[in-house]
């Protein structure tokens, strides 16, 4: 355990703990939140816009729902949105970059020009456009953001592959008569994937922010499902007099995005250290 802390650093470990906490809260939301039915959306109008107190730790919103329960349930949507956006983007970007970098020539040109088309649009604008076209809903907003996200991974993967392709051990494999597909998957992919995974960890935060932005704009999940971006939007109307409605989900977004960023940094530093050891 202490070796683990040393490898990630104090900040990294703390952030990992925070992320695990949020993940556990999200996973066990129905059992951990004080008012699970309100967390899922049942209104409770007799207690609307109550300030934080012993009965409602983070106060209640305009429909009288416990903000803490809503934040806990919102973690389900926001975390899965952040992780799925990054996962989808990796799923598209990594193979595209691998193919482009490994085969080069016209394959590279074709794939990279397609990538450039996506990079030419401002990311959030394209995401908003797509989300509007696809209609609201969690999956649609995830797809909309992932479509603007994958080109970065494709570019990164390609750059990594270009470096690795010239490595003597890759050359040695091809001299041994190893097939191209096997060289790409067995000898190049593991080396290229690691920095990409670190980048992916760094990107969960921004992905989560973008997903929250979409739902803030009304393009995310449909009510009454709790979502942090949507909650900030709802709380905006009561800000600053009844600040807790917007502040609680806002702080949650901030903490989780920060935690993923710091954890990603910690992973990257570790990666850098490891590289120096081996070469």
């Amino acid at each position: 355990m202490s070796a683990f802390v040393r490898r990630l650093g104090f900040g990294g470990t703390l952030c990992l703990a925070l992320i695990v906490t949020f993940a556990l809260l999200a996973l066990f939301a129905p059992w951990l939140s004080p008012y699970p039915d309100q967390g899922m959306g049942t209104p409770n109008v007799i207690a609307k816009l109550k300030p934080p107190a012993a009965t409602f730790w983070l106060g209640t919103d305009h429909l009288g729902r416990d903000v803490l329960s809503r934040v806990i349930f919102g973690a389900r949507v926001s975390m899965s949105a952040g992780l799925l956006i990054v996962a989808f983007s990796l799923l598209i970007g990594l193979p595209v970059g691998l193919l482009a970098g490994y085969f080069g020539g016209w394959v590279d040109e074709a794939l990279m020009r397609i990538t450039d088309v996506f990079l030419a649009f401002p990311a959030l604008l394209l995401a908003v456009l797509l989300a509007a076209a696809l209609g609201p809903g969690l999956l649609n907003s995830i797809v909309a953001v992932a479509v603007t996200w994958w080109p970065w991974y494709a570019r990164m993967a390609r750059a990594e592959v270009l470096v690795l392709r010239g490595q003597p051990y890759v050359e040695a494999a091809s001299v041994m008569g190893v097939s191209q597909a096997r060289i790409a998957i067995r000898h190049i992919l593991p080396g290229a994937a690691r920095p990409l995974l670190v980048q992916a960890a760094l990107d969960v935060g921004p992905a989560l922010l973008t997903a929250s932005s979409l739902s803030f704009l009304g393009l995310g999940v449909l009510p009454p499902t709790a979502d942090w971006g949507k909650m900030v939007d709802e709380g905006r109307k009561f800000f600053p007099d009844r600040w807790w409605v917007a502040a609680a989900p806002g702080v949650a977004i901030f903490l989780l995005a920060l935690a993923f960023s710091v954890l990603g940094d910690a992973l990257r530093n570790r990666e850098g250290g490891k590289r120096r050891d081996t070469t």
Binding site: P168, E171, V175, M176, G177, R186, T278
Partner: protein, 259 residues
């Protein structure tokens, strides 16, 4: 005299220059002819930029050839392509200069040694494991090295693994690109002795590229000295070492002594 295993005739290798109007590069290998009888060793010597590595890379089909012919065991080596080339590559083993760069950093020694066997289409299993352990022991390393990674080995040990990998498919020709120059002197001697043993055991043909004449003189029956893409001297090792015809060869011998 046995039939030559490798015959290179008038080989020219030229790297492509970038840009439409850029002047073409001078050929890296300029009209080299050589022949390597089966079971013998040819030492290819020259300073950096002499074209020895380009010649070797052309022989390994890593760089395109501009003109000339290479035949391997009587077949036109440059005409083979695609999947046939992949199979044909099994008859050449290659040992690179720096073992830490030429062994995959993320694979274990066992996985590294399995790779050529799998490429040939062998089935993984106990039989393959035995074969890998045997390969490793032939190169002087016990089987407890198998689960390690290249970064955990010393330079000499890693180069032994690299030689074991090159020998995995019982190739007809072993191509060595400065296999000892990344190692310190005592380890160099061990690796050279290993190669001598392997040669005595299995009658392996070798093409040994180096800038250090002294290293290769141990091993090679024939020496070929290259400078700026061309062969300046070729002959039996004793003759070249005792009575070099070219001033350049004398320089190289002197360089070997000084070290």
């Amino acid at each position: 005299m046995t039939a030559p295993l490798v015959e290179v005739h008038d080989l020219v290798v030229r790297y492509k220059s970038r840009g439409l109007f850029a002047a073409p590069f001078k050929p890296a290998v300029n009209g080299v002819t050589l022949s390597l009888p089966a079971g013998s060793t040819l030492g290819l010597v020259g300073e950096s930029g002499s074209g020895k590595s380009s010649l070797l890379r052309a022989l390994l089909r890593l760089v395109p050839v501009e003109s000339g012919t290479i035949s391997l065991g009587g077949e036109d080596w440059l005409a083979i392509d695609g999947p046939a080339l992949r199979r044909a590559r099994h008859s050449i083993g290659f040992v690179a200069q720096n073992p830490f760069l030429s062994l995959s950093p993320r694979l274990t020694i066992a996985q590294i040694l399995a790779e050529p066997l799998l490429a040939r289409g062998d089935k993984p299993g106990a039989e393959m494991k035995d074969r890998i352990a045997l390969l490793l022991s032939r190169c002087g390393l016990p089987a407890n090295f198998l689960p390690l990674r290249a970064s955990e080995l010393s330079g000499g040990q890693a180069q032994r693994v690299s030689i074991a990998r090159a020998l995995a498919l019982s190739p007809r020709l072993l191509v060595l690109d400065e296999p000892t120059s990344a190692l310190d002197v005592s380890v160099q001697a061990q690796i050279l002795n290993l190669l001598l043993d392997l040669k005595a055991d299995s009658g392996l043909s070798m093409l040994f590229v180096t800038h250090n004449l002294k290293v290769v003189a141990h091993l090679a029956e024939q020496l070929m000295v290259m400078r700026q893409g061309s062969v300046v001297e070729v002959g039996a090792t004793e003759r070249v070492m005792a009575d070099p015809a070219q001033a350049y060869t004398r320089e190289l011998i002197g360089f070997g002594r000084r070290r």
